[in-house]
Symmetry: C2
Subunit: 159 residues, 2 copies
């Protein structure tokens, strides 16, 4: 993404501010040590008719993939940590409206690398909770509170 | 808008490509000579929670106004011809996905100034029809065909 000009970076930032989302999701997954998977996402949304614009952005960044949701909405998803870091490195400076989400995402990715205990993991989940306020999320999601209960049940934390 | 940097122009273009609309609407209005009003629009849409981002863009451009629709969606509307011309002059170069809509809009505004007869007006309406394809509009709108019928009824065109 180093080849992207400031003009292109600003364009992508405007696009993301208008119709994108930056968030981290906790998903129950018992194959993971602490029973939950931390899944970071940067997503751009468009109607099927405007799919072309998502392809243009993907062509510019060279990362992520496009998928069609069941409701017909097209999503351009950047979901792997290295690509997210790289994307935010070049674009976040130009964000106006989602600047705080970008900062929180980077904080979370940094903290995630340092998790060494169940308490660390819980602190990470609490940080993820902060996306709720920033994104006005109304969907049912898994919060740190729920993770804490599981960690106690599984004996990772003393009840 | 001359003060806007290329970065700002590209940002706004990205925002408009993602979540905006460029179109011209025909509205029945019998106080107008040819019975229809030609109303050009550039509109940015956001949910109520993201209203702030529309305010940011309005602050940058210094034109247009923000209104809340009955369904709660916030719209930032640029509706006067001079502002639209000025806006497209600074932003259209950076549009990727809505480039054709911008070109068609300028063609229409130019032709509109030159209307001297009902036949000219009808040609203008046919140009406006082209937005249908570009915008995948599904809403019921007034097309040149309808205008032609009215113009014949009113004796502007020989049936």
């Amino acid at each position: 993404m180093n080849k992207l000009s400031s003009i292109q970076r600003a364009y992508i930032a405007g696009f993301l501010d208008a119709d994108g989302s930056i968030y981290v999701k906790l998903t129950k997954n018992i194959t993971y040590k602490y029973q939950y998977q931390v899944a970071p996402y940067i997503v751009f949304y468009q109607s099927q008719q405007s799919k072309k614009s998502l392809q243009e952005i993907q062509k510019m960044t060279g990362v992520g993939y496009i998928r069609k949701r069941n409701d017909g909405i097209e999503e351009y998803i950047i979901g792997d940590i290295n690509s997210i870091r790289e994307f935010l490195r070049v674009v976040s400076k130009f964000l106006i409206y989602k600047e705080n989400q970008a900062k929180l995402m980077l904080e979370i990715l940094n903290l995630k690398e340092k998790v060494k205990s169940s308490l660390d993991f819980l602190a990470l989940c609490r940080l993820i909770d902060q996306f709720q306020q920033l994104n006005y999320s109304k969907k049912r999601i898994i919060l740190a509170e729920t993770v804490e209960i599981t960690l106690k049940e599984k004996g990772f934390l003393t009840p």
